[in-house]
Amino acid sequence: MTDDIIDIRHLTKVFHTDNGDVEALHDVTLNFPRGGFTSIIGPSGCGKSTLLRIIGGLDTDYDGEALMDGEPIPGPGRDKGFVFQDHRLLPWLSVRENIRFALPPEHKKDDGLIQSNIDLVGLTGFEDALPKQLSGGMSQRVAIARALANRPKILLLDEPFGALDAITKIKLQDQLLRIWQSEHITMVIVTHDIDEAVYLGQTVVVMKPHPGEIKRVEHIDLGWPRQRIGEAFNTAKDSIYQEFFATN
């Protein structure tokens, strides 16, 4: 029996809209091993972000079970770091103050903790910069540092690099992997980028829409350090690619 941090059983989520009910997730059963890196991939409308929001406690209205460490997830909190697609930094606060803002009262004055997390995402020297002075990639790194500074048990990333250019994206993916290695933190990333899903995830969960269901769970071993090129990566990618575009 593996040690799972997240345990999802028969999860069904229905959105009630004016045009009737929409089943965003249908009978999803899934678990995430502690310390693992899982990618969730699927076309838009497959419920992947909804799934992540339920794990993050941002959505608690569903049928079935969503457990963290064996307990139902009561709501959002610092133990479940959440990185949104937009960086969601407060524009009136500097990088340092944005991180301080998110800290619990007992760590509010811990400048060392803030600095170490700024250093961790490679933004040393930008402590006093305002978000408007940062590029999109840098802002997203601050958002990651803000989440990590709270020492979450799990880091949930909702298409965090979706709006970035290809080069920045690759750099941030590598940085994220280094952080995952050094901090031993469970990470779950939602993405619609097959390369990203395969490169980052030890496990890739492929979902399909209407209703949102799990199509396949693929385990990927790219070794360490990971390679973006070569046989292993391409084979894994091809297999996901075919699954992604399969008609059934």
């Binding site: 959002p76 610092r78 479940k80 937009d86 524009p91 009136w92 978000p131 408007k132 999109g136």
Partner: protein, 307 residues
């Protein structure tokens, strides 16, 4: 888009040679980046574009100042010519020279400064009371939909009643002393501030609430550190409108039952049949109003430096 195309044309096509080589393109890239990822960040784009436009249209530097001042100077010059040609009678209209003379006269006996200070003090008193009231009620109505609903009808009905319409009742309530004037100024300043504070708070990016939940930010700290700063640009716009509302009302209040102030100067000038004093008072009202507006706008830019 059109602008971009025009900017790309050779200088001789539209006869502007001073435009820098390719500023539009640089701006697009920088702002595109923030727009993609930023929750808030599109203003940077428009601000940059406005700056570029300002320089190419000759709105900065010496030409800018010339353009700014040519109309008032022309008006004063024409007015002087008209006056010196003997077209005005001294009991109905004054020349600029007479107005300057009146200003010197009032300044030397100290009346000018006293009137300005008296009006200014009244404005400040009424404005500050209004600011506190608008802040308390506005924040409450902005964050609690129930409270907004509770006071909405009363506010909606009171808001269209101008400060001047309150003068009779204010005199019945408070007499013709200071309190009635401050009450009228309060009315003039309160509503623009209240409305903008409520709108500013209600209009903040709802995604910040999720952020507050994820990081378990207590309610009051969230209001202080997120809601108020997010609404601050609009709150400061409200303060600017409130201050000009207060200034309009002080003049109205002082025209009735006052023995000092700029508004008193205005009505006193009329009863003395001195158009020079009347126009001097009017110009004072205009110039002081503009200066107060400039100060608030300058402070607004200084405070809201993150946009």
């Amino acid at each position: 888009m059109v602008e971009k195309v025009i900017a790309g044309l050779p200088a001789w096509v539209h006869g502007r040679s001073e435009r820098p080589a390719r500023p539009e393109v640089v701006g697009e890239v920088v702002s595109g980046k923030t727009a993609q990822t930023g929750a808030v960040g599109t203003t940077e784009k428009t601000a940059a574009r406005r700056r570029r436009k300002a320089s190419t249209l000759g709105l900065t530097g010496v030409t800018g100042w010339l353009l700014y001042l040519v109309l008032p100077v022309a008006i004063v010059a024409l007015w002087s010519l008209y006056g010196s040609a003997g077209q005005t009678q001294s009991y109905s209209m004054a020349t600029p020279q007479q107005i300057v003379a009146a200003a010197v006269e009032y300044a030397t006996d100290g009346e000018l400064l006293i009137n300005i200070l008296v009006s200014f003090t009244r404005v400040l008193e009424g404005f500050l009371v209004a600011l506190v009231a608008a802040a308390v009620l506005g924040v409450a109505a902005g964050i609690s939909r129930r409270f907004e609903r509770f006071i909405d009808l009363v506010m909606q009905v009171l808001r269209p009643i101008p400060g001047i319409a309150w003068i009779p009742l204010a005199i019945l309530w408070f007499g013709i002393g200071e309190n009635s004037k401050i009450y009228i100024i309060f009315i003039g300043a309160f509503f623009p501030m209240f409305v903008n504070i409520v709108d500013g708070i209600k209009g903040i990016d709802k995604r910040y609430f999720e952020l507050g939940e994820v990081y378990e930010i207590p309610k009051w700290r969230f209001i202080r550190q997120v809601v108020i700063p997010a609404a601050l640009p609009q709150i400061l716009t409200g303060i600017r409108l409130g201050l000009s509302g207060a200034w309009i009302c002080v003049v109205a209040a002082e025209m009735i039952g006052a023995t000092s102030g700029v508004g008193f100067m205005l009505s006193d000038g009329r009863s003395m049949s001195r158009p020079d004093v009347v126009i001097l008072a009017m110009l004072l009202i205009g110039v002081i109003g503009k200066l107060m507006d400039d100060v608030v706008e300058w402070q607004r830019r200084r405070i809201v430096k993150w946009l």
